[in-house]
């Protein structure tokens, strides 16, 4: 069974550009999460979907970040326009029961 997959694995963009990160959860997992880790800092929660609904988006840093999960399957996280401080690793995770959560390999974003 495939795990959580994320694309792209690495991205380098210029400040002001737009980047869209994609996450495919484990098949059948209704819960989908986005987390971010800025270099050397803690892993911070961004938001939580249950199916296509945003259950909790209290961790989204500002309105430059937009997450969607149309149809309750894959999710995208768009950063527009990107700033230098957005650099970091963006982790997606999914869970069937909301208790055991499986993470993807991460999308490593560098804004220059």
């Amino acid at each position: 069974e495939a795990g959580v997959t994320q694309f792209p694995s690495h991205s380098v963009i210029e400040k002001g550009q737009t980047v869209t990160l994609r996450c495919d959860p484990i098949s059948g997992h209704d819960n989908l999460y986005w987390y971010r880790r800025v270099m050397g800092k803690e892993i911070k929660f961004l938001l939580h979907f249950v199916k296509e609904s945003k259950q909790d988006e209290s961790g989204m840093p500002n309105n430059r970040f937009l997450a969607e999960r149309t149809g309750g399957t894959y999710s995208t996280l768009k950063v527009q326009p990107a700033e230098l401080e957005d650099s970091g690793v963006y982790f997606c995770a999914s869970s069937a029961d909301g208790n055991t959560i499986y993470f993807g390999e991460g999308s490593w974003l560098t804004v220059v």
Binding site: K41, E42, I43, F45, F91, N99, T100
Partner: protein
């Protein structure tokens, strides 16, 4: 306030030595407890978890963790460390009734040959 604490930022051990990484939490009711590992350039891999029952849980890669209610701790252990264990280790908790893991700041493990 609810929190999870990993008091050690870095731990250095020699290959073959035993290892214990500390994790303490502060929650009203015992949360669900997890340890994850992030190897260099890799994602987060689940090592083990505790929900209830036996307080000593076994995980992958030879790791185990012991839940101690009286100390609000969930320390990760390994009897003999291998060089490939060098990574960053994260304790995470999910409060009962919540679906959002909260992570400790991580402990970086350095293994000397």
């Amino acid at each position: 306030a609810q929190s999870v604490t990993q008091p050690d930022i870095h731990i250095t051990v020699s290959e073959g030595a035993s290892l214990e990484l500390r994790c303490n939490y502060s929650y009203g009711a015992t949360p669900y407890l997890f340890w994850y590992v992030q190897s260099p350039g890799q994602g987060l891999q689940l090592l083990l978890k505790y929900f209830s029952g036996d307080t000593l849980v076994q995980g992958i890669k030879g790791f185990e963790a012991e839940f101690k209610r009286s100390q609000s701790s969930f320390n990760l252990r390994k009897p003999s460390v291998h060089w490939s264990d060098a990574a960053e280790y994260f304790c995470a908790v999910v409060a009962r009734g919540s679906y959002i893991p909260t992570f400790g700041r991580g402990t970086s493990l350095i293994v000397h040959p």
